[in-house]
C-alpha cells in the first residue's frame, strides 16, 4: 500500500509527507495519496490537529521540524499527560503534580533549544504554565564569584523564568570546577527552588549525552528529580539538506540544481567543515546565511536586469565555503 520511499517506511505526519515530496522520495501523486491516508486513518495521533485544540499551533510547529521522530513522540506523550492531569484536577480527581523537569541530551545544533521553546508554548496553551517563555542561561549566568553570590544569581535567574521554561545549556559545566567551585552551590540552589517552586516553572538541563550522564550520576539529588530524558540524535545528511532548503524557502530563496548537488555532496562527505560539525543544524543555517550574503555580492556586480528568479536563486558559486 505504502510505497515510494527507499526504506519502505510510511510517513507519520503530513509534514513528513511534504518533506519526502520535496526531497524527491515520493511522487506528487503518491504524496497526495499519503496525505489522504493520514487524514482517514482512524485514531491517528492528531496528524492534522483541529483548529479548536489550543495546542494546534505549537504542535504543528513541532511537526514541521525536520527529523526528531522520537523527540516528537515523547513531546506528544508529555503533553497528553499534562493535559489529562489538568482535566483530572478540574474534576476533583487526584492529579500528579507536574514535576516534569527534563534532561535534554544531544550535541550542539540538534534542536534542543527549539524544542524547549515549543514545550514552553505547549505548556502555556495547555494551561500548565502561565507564560511559557524561555529563559536560556549557562554556567556564567548562575555561578557567582564569592560566597553567597551564586545563590543570589541563581534565585534571580529562576525569578525571571517563573511561569516559563528555564533552559540551562551545557548544564554539566556547573560541576566543572571541582570541590572549591561555586558550581556546587548553584546546583544546591537549583535543587532547593525546584522544591519550593515545584509547578511554577519547567527546568530543562541540556548538554552532550556523555557529559550529562556523568553529571547526573555525580549529583543524585538532581537525578532523582528528573524523570524525563529526551535524546537528540545528530541529524543525518539528508535531514540537514532538508533543514537548509526549508530555511531558505522561509526567506524566499532556493537552491539552483547545481547548488543543491554541491550541498548534498558536502553533507554526505563529512570532511572539512563537516568533520567537526557533522549533524549540526546551526552550522548549516550559518552557512546558508553566508551563501545569501555571497549571492547579494554576486548580484550587485551583475550588469543588466535581474529577474525575480535571479533574486531568489542561490547557485553553486554562492556555496563555495561549503565545498
Amino acid at each position: 500500500m505504502a510505497s515510494g520511499h527507499p526504506g519502505g517506511a510510511t510517513p507519520d505526519t503530513s509534514a513528513e509527507v511534504l518533506r519526502w515530496l520535496a526531497d524527491g522520495h515520493v511522487s506528487t501523486v503518491e504524496a497526495v495519496r499519503q496525505l489522504r491516508r493520514l487524514e482517514r486513518r482512524p485514531g491517528a495521533p492528531a496528524p492534522a490537529p483541529g483548529p479548536d485544540l489550543p495546542t494546534a499551533g505549537a504542535l504543528a510547529a513541532l511537526d514541521a521540524l525536520v527529523g526528531l521522530r522520537e523527540v516528537k513522540r515523547q513531546v506528544r506523550e508529555i503533553c497528553a499527560f499534562v493535559d489529562i492531569q489538568q482535566r483530572r484536577a478540574a474534576m476533583q480527581l487526584a492529579a500528579e503534580p507536574h514535576t516534569l523537569h527534563m534532561v535534554f541530551r544531544g550535541a550542539p545544533g540538534t534542536g534542543k533549544t527549539t524544542v524547549a521553546r515549543l514545550l514552553g508554548q505547549l505548556f502555556r496553551d495547555l494551561g500548565a504554565l502561565p507564560k511559557g517563555h524561555l529563559v536560556e542561561v549557562e554556567r556564567a549566568d548562575l555561578v557567582g564569584e564569592y560566597i553567597g553570590h551564586t545563590a543570589q544569581k541563581t534565585r534571580e535567574v529562576v525569578r525571571r523564568a517563573l511561569g516559563g521554561v528555564l533552559f540551562i545549556d551545557e548544564a554539566y559545566a556547573l560541576a566543572r570546577g571541582g570541590g572549591k567551585d561555586f558550581g556546587k552551590e548553584a546546583i544546591d540552589a537549583l535543587v532547593k527552588v525546584m522544591e519550593d517552586k515545584k509547578s511554577e516553572f519547567l527546568l530543562i538541563l541540556a548538554g552532550y549525552p556523555r557529559e550529562m550522564a556523568a553529571f547526573m550520576d555525580a549529583n543524585p539529588g538532581l537525578r532523582s528529580r528528573f524523570a524525563i530524558h529526551v535524546d537528540f540524535p545528530e541529524y543525518r545528511p539528508d535531514e540537514l539538506a532538508a533543514i537548509a532548503r526549508l530555511m531558505l524557502a522561509e526567506r524566499q530563496y532556493r537552491l539552483a540544481p547545481d547548488a543543491d548537488e554541491v550541498l548534498a555532496k558536502a553533507l554526505d562527505r563529512r570532511t572539512g567543515v563537516w568533520h567537526e560539525n557533522a549533524g549540526n543544524a546551526r552550522m548549516v543555517r550559518n552557512l546558508m546565511e553566508r551563501a545569501i550574503r555571497r549571492q547579494a555580492v554576486r548580484l550587485v556586480q551583475h550588469t543588466g536586469p535581474l529577474s525575480r528568479e535571479d533574486l531568489m536563486t542561490l547557485v553553486a558559486a554562492d556555496l563555495d565555503e561549503v565545498r
Binding site: 503530513s14 511534504l18 518533506r19 515530496l21 520535496a22 526531497d23 524527491g24 515520493v26 511522487s27 506528487t28 501523486v29 504524496a31 497526495v32 495519496r33 496525505l35 489522504r36 487524514e39 492534522a48 532548503r245 524557502a249 522561509e250 526567506r251 524566499q252 532556493r254 537552491l255 539552483a256 540544481p257 543543491d260 525575480r308 531568489m312 536563486t313
Partner: protein
C-alpha cells in the same frame, strides 16, 4: 482571511485566472502576499504588470505560492477571500529540487484551503490526469470544491468538458475562459455560495 486555493496541472491557466478574476471582482492594484508570513508584502502590481510577471506559456513561470485578496459581491453581502495561486502540479517526481519544493508548498496550501478551485484545461486531450484525480479524491469530500473548466474559448473545449464531467462525476464544474472572462459570473456565484458573508 478565508483562503481559496487555486490548484491544477502545469499551464492550465491558474495564474491568468487569478489575475483576471481579481480584476473582474474590481481589484485594481494586485498586492500578492507571499506564503511566508514573515516576508513583507511587495508593492501592488498593476493588472498588466501582474500578467507579465506571472503568466507565461512555459511551465512553472512561478514556483512561489502567493495570494491576492479579492472581495466577492454576492447574495447577502460581500465576502473577502484570498485567492492563492500555486505552482502547477506534475504527477511524478520532478528533477529540479526547486520544483519539488514548490509541489510541497502547493499541497500544504491546498490542505489549509477553505475552498479549492481545481483548474483544468479542457482544450487539452485527457485533461483529467492522475494528479487531478488524486487531489480531488483527497480534498473534495473534506472542503468546498469546485472544478474550473478553463480555456472554454478554445476549439475542442466542449468535448473536453464532456470528458471532464465523465471522469470526475459528482464534482461541481464551472466552465470558464480565464482569457475572455466568460463564465466568471458563475464562478463568483459558486465561490460566494461556499463562503460566509464578512
Amino acid at each position: 482571511m478565508r483562503a481559496a486555493v487555486v490548484v491544477g496541472g502545469v499551464n492550465v491557466g491558474k495564474s491568468l485566472l487569478v489575475v483576471n478574476f481579481a480584476a473582474y471582482c474590481g481589484q485594481r492594484g494586485l498586492r500578492f502576499q507571499p506564503l511566508d508570513r514573515y516576508a513583507a508584502s511587495p508593492r501592488p502590481w498593476s493588472l498588466g504588470e501582474a500578467r507579465r510577471q506571472l503568466v507565461s506559456a512555459g511551465p512553472h513561470a512561478i514556483l512561489a505560492v502567493q495570494g491576492v485578496a479579492v472581495t466577492l459581491v454576492g447574495k447577502g453581502g460581500p465576502r473577502t477571500v484570498r485567492l492563492w495561486d500555486t505552482p502547477g502540479l506534475v504527477a511524478g517526481v520532478a528533477g529540479d529540487p526547486a520544483v519539488r519544493h514548490a509541489m510541497a508548498d502547493a499541497l500544504a496550501k491546498v490542505a489549509q484551503a477553505d475552498l479549492v478551485l481545481h483548474v483544468v484545461d479542457v482544450a487539452r486531450p485527457n485533461c483529467w490526469g492522475e494528479a487531478d484525480h488524486a487531489v480531488a479524491e483527497w480534498r473534495a469530500a473534506a472542503t468546498p470544491y469546485t472544478v474550473v473548466a478553463n480555456q472554454m474559448d478554445r476549439p475542442g473545449a466542449r468535448e473536453g468538458l464532456k470528458h471532464l464531467r465523465r471522469q470526475a462525476p459528482g464534482l461541481p464544474v464551472v466552465p470558464v475562459s480565464a482569457l475572455t472572462q466568460q463564465g466568471f459570473a458563475s464562478l463568483r456565484r459558486a465561490m460566494a455560495a461556499s463562503l460566509p458573508v464578512d
